[in-house]
């Protein structure tokens, strides 16, 4: 009954300022417009400053059946199925402190709203770093990265989010504060709830704090930038690299669309059909030295057109240029779509070919980057609705035929609304039960659950 619901909700909105703390609630069109999510403009933005405030908000929201949307920097708010409702944004930007930095034990406990880039700056002062490096880490929050399970190129050497987070403090949708995991690398006490929260897309609770695994800054680092006339040669190089005892810190590939500008920046060039392979290594001087030599000769043995070994300034510039590609491709147009394919590592070359074939058959330019050591490939394109739908369907089919999957990570709302995010899997019912158990009133990110609730 609309009226009753409205009344309870009204009461909540009135109380919100009190619960969330004075000055922590933003309302009004100007304030809420940037937080439009899936076509819904929220009623208010709450920015609590403590776990207790988060708990209070959630408890009250539960009573009033308010739809809450957890928010870090909003980098990944387009992932997954569209939200059914979004009443309040629960933004953690104000909870952005380092709680405890235990440098000698290589752990840091942070509040979820701390931006990754900011964390790295503070860690660098102690000669440490956190190896999670998604492309937009300068703006994404650690809590957001954990909830979205987003990793970056360094995953090949250091692991993904699931391997780098030792513990998580979360507030469940019914208002309980639970502490999962701990400070130690090895911890098998109880059920591993920490893993449960990683990648939960804000549907099982609000992550308020996390304990992260740190590493010392490396003595040296190097980037090998090699251009290849054919993607096949590049992928063969990757295969040989992966089959060796070398341990690079990144193995990235960019096609000529995504990699053109980077190639130019380093004094090379990428023609149509050519690809750029970037292999980073970091560690001790002699280790990096050896990596540089071996990777260069591998590239050469596989007909690399040009190979550049970059270090220091030059390497940072080129690497930042590569990292910026992601934003650049997305920001280029309002009809931009970015998707992620995950296929077996040995099939990445095939997925690349498929993506290019699909683009060609539809007369569309599809830009590609890839985390070559993980079987992950990103596609970037900008087209009108019909074409986007057709192409994503093709990409899904291609990935599935290689025993992988394709997921839309960012797209115009019209595409996302109509799309089946992923083919149904037989563990979705269990996921639904987990969601319903922890969030019986379905207040956190309703609709965001992969596979849907029904």
């Amino acid at each position: 009954m609309d009226n009753t619901v409205s009344q309870e909700k009204q009461a909540f909105y009135q109380k919100l300022g009190e619960i969330a703390g004075a000055g922590n609630v933003l309302t009004g069109e100007k304030a809420t417009a940037p937080y439009n999510v899936d076509g819904i403009t929220p009623r208010a933005i709450a920015c609590p400053t403590s776990t207790e405030q988060v708990t209070d908000i959630i408890k009250e929201a539960n009573k009033a059946r308010i739809a809450l949307v957890p928010w870090g920097s909003g980098s990944k708010q387009q992932i997954g199925p569209c939200l059914e409702a979004a009443d309040i944004i629960l933004c953690l930007k104000n909870m952005n402190q380092i709680v405890e930095l235990d440098a000698s034990n290589y752990t840091v406990q942070v509040q979820a709203g701390l931006v990754n880039g900011e964390l790295q700056k503070q860690l660098a002062e102690k000669s440490l770093f956190f190896p999670l490096d998604p492309f937009y880490m300068e703006s994404s929050t650690t809590g957001g990265e954990i909830a979205a399970n987003t990793s970056g190129p360094r995953r090949i050497m250091y692991g993904t989010v699931r391997d780098l987070v030792l513990g998580v403090t979360a507030v469940t949708p019914t208002g309980d504060i639970i502490h999962t995991g701990g400070k130690t690398m090895k911890n098998v006490a109880g059920i591993d709830l920490c893993r449960m929260y990683i990648g939960s897309w804000g549907t099982l609770g609000i992550i308020t704090e996390a304990v992260l695994r740190l590493f010392p800054l490396s003595e040296a680092s190097k980037g090998i930038y090699a251009t290849f006339a054919s993607a096949e040669d590049a992928f063969r190089t990757v295969g040989q690299l992966l089959n060796s005892p070398l341990t690079p810190s990144a193995i990235e590939l960019a096609d000529w669309i995504a990699g053109r500008k980077i190639a130019e920046a380093i004094g090379s060039s990428l023609n149509e059909g050519e690809v750029l392979l970037i292999v980073n290594s970091e560690g001790t001087n002699d280790g990096v030295e050896r990596h540089g030599k071996d990777i260069t000769s591998l590239a050469g043995a596989n007909r690399a057109k040009s190979t550049f070994a970059l270090a220091d300034e030059k390497a940072s510039r080129a690497w930042n240029a590569y990292r910026g590609v992601h934003e650049a491709m997305l920001g280029a147009s309002p009809s931009a779509l970015q998707g992620k394919a995950s296929v077996p590592i040995s099939k990445l070359g095939d997925m690349y070919k498929e993506a290019k074939k699909i683009g060609a058959s539809q007369g569309v330019e599809i830009g590609v980057t890839a985390h070559c050591g993980s079987g992950i490939l990103y596609t970037y394109l900008a087209e009108e609705h019909e074409r986007l739908v057709r192409i994503t369907d093709e990409l899904k089919r291609a990935a599935a035929s290689l025993n992988g999957f394709f997921l839309i990570e960012s797209a115009p709302l019209s595409v996302r609304k109509g799309a089946d995010i992923l083919p149904p899997r037989n563990d979705y019912p269990l996921m639904r039960r987990l969601k319903t158990e922890f969030d019986p009133n379905n207040i956190l990110n309703p609709g965001r659950l992969v596979g849907g609730l029904h």
């Binding site: 000698s104 019914t174 690398m185 059920i191 709830l193 996921m431 039960r433 019986p440």
Partner: protein, 472 residues
């Protein structure tokens, strides 16, 4: 007690030969590597997922407990059927189904023995890093149930990093696939929940594992110290400097003495503590690491640093460490082994505390530790014919775990909670934390079919919040 008709029905599923219900069978499956024993009602040895599913359907229908079991070498009571029921023995499902080095994956049945997998990978130049001490005998299914560790975890990480996907049979017999062969599967990390869940959420019937190339070279050293404090401080300094050895194991004087009685590893018997350190990686990078480690050892007044020059020397150094628990068993078969883990720089403090408790309770405690991860393994010895000694040993163990918690650590680094550490769960987790874990258990297994009576102290069951989720 379960009816004969049920046993007959089970025999129809797996075959009469694979259904064991004589008293001698029940006794044989009543124990693991701890000291508890409880009789199950029947043991079944299925050979396929379909059989496992049929067994669970039956168990679910009749509400009979099912205890998944590999080789029963766990050190926490995880496979002891405290509520009787069916022991689901997976040792017959022991095929390696696929090894694909280009994908860095191996697909195996849960009964494959860890070392057998390693031996299959070695000729290809690959390995599966988690190397628990039990690897000669323990199964991959068991390893996943306990989130097994081992010395190599220091550099490579734990089991949870090396299991990508699983086929799992749930409490009602439903077969699902969690995780994936490929990376970044979306949705909840059900496989992460499953790993280390001690057989309480379901039973894995197929495992997709992550394998990596072997390092190019390795170098093994033995560092000998006159004071335990110097030894553990050296650990701290080495790791603190950013060096990541492949393994860093600490052994105290007592355990060295015990080891040398059985395994002639050449360990000194008059040094307060020794460190087994192994570095691995590209051949040209090892020299420098060895030098740095050497310097840190010198800084901490190392008495002697032996660097293995040949494979034989390396093997001898490792033989001592790998024979540690066994050597203790030779002089004193019953012992309590603790598994508490502390942040690495608290290791000196933790070892000191263990020494204090040893004096306080008048029990002999010998120490081996995965020093690099702060994972202690104090072995508390007692005479099985003296109940008061066993009591004192138990108390000492409990106090050690409390101390670990107080230092910011955990009550179990790799062995699991099972029965042995149920009480200690209360000290580590508050009611809300345990309630959340119980909710997860409830979602997977609302009828408590799988391995009941483990992990959660009894009162946690009463604490289950009333607002449960919707029924299926």
């Amino acid at each position: 007690m379960i009816a004969q008709s049920i046993i007959k029905e089970l025999a129809r599923i797996v075959g009469k030969k694979n259904t064991l219900a004589d008293l001698k069978d029940l006794i044989a499956y009543s124990y693991d590597a701890t000291m508890r024993q409880e009789l199950p009602d029947v043991i079944v040895l299925p050979q396929s997922t379909a059989e496992v599913s049929a067994i669970l359907k039956l168990a679910h229908r009749e509400k009979i407990a099912v205890v998944p079991r590999g080789a029963g070498t766990n050190l926490s009571g995880g496979t002891i059927p405290v509520k009787g029921g069916i022991i689901l023995e997976i040792s017959r499902m022991n095929r390696i189904l696929e090894i694909n080095t280009a994908d860095r994956r191996a697909v195996v049945e849960p009964g494959v023995i860890n070392l057998d997998l390693q031996n299959a990978l070695a000729p290809l130049g690959y390995f599966y890093p988690p190397d628990p001490a039990s690897q000669k005998t323990s199964t991959m299914g068991g390893n996943i149930g306990e989130n097994a560790g081992g010395p190599l975890c220091l550099r490579y990480g734990v089991t949870s990093k090396y299991v990508f996907g699983m086929e799992v049979v749930l409490a009602d017999g439903e077969v699902i696939n969690i995780g994936d062969y490929v990376e970044d599967f979306p949705g909840y990390d059900l496989r992460g929940l499953f790993i280390g869940s001690e057989g309480m959420l379901g039973i894995a019937t197929k495992l997709t594992l992550h394998i990596i190339p072997k390092p190019e070279a390795s170098q093994t050293m033995l560092a000998i110290f006159d004071r335990l404090e110097d030894c553990s401080q050296a650990v701290s300094d080495i790791i603190g400097a950013g060096i990541v050895p492949e393994a860093m194991e600490l052994l105290d004087q007592n355990i060295c003495r015990v080891i040398e009685q059985s395994v002639k590893a050449g360990y000194p018997t008059d040094a307060a503590g020794i460190l087994l350190i192994e570095v691995a990686g590209l051949a040209d990078t090892l020299e420098k690491q060895v030098q740095e480690i050497s310097q840190f050892c010198q800084k901490n007044k190392v008495r002697e640093l032996r660097i293995a020059q040949t494979n034989a020397e390396r093997d001898a150094i490792w033989a001592g460490r790998r024979g540690a628990f066994g050597s203790v068993a030779r002089i004193c078969p019953p012992y309590i082994v603790c598994d508490g883990t502390v942040p690495r720089d608290k290791l000196p403090e933790a070892l000191h505390k263990v020494g204090e408790l040893s004096k306080q309770y008048k029990v002999l405690i010998v120490n081996v530790a995965h020093a690099g991860d702060g994972n202690l393994h104090p072995l508390i010895l007692f005479d099985v014919n003296k109940p008061e000694e066993q009591e004192a040993a138990k108390k000492a163990g409990a106090d050690i775990l409390d101390a670990c918690i107080a230092m910011g650590g955990t009550i179990s680094g790799e062995h699991g909670i099972g029965l042995e550490k149920m009480d200690a769960m209360r000290h580590m987790f508050d009611p809300a934390d345990m309630a959340a874990m119980r909710r997860v258990k409830h979602v997977f297994d609302p009828d408590d079919i799988f391995n009941p009576g483990k992990m959660f102290p009894p009162e946690a069951e009463a604490g289950l919040p009333k607002e449960k989720g919707a029924a299926r």
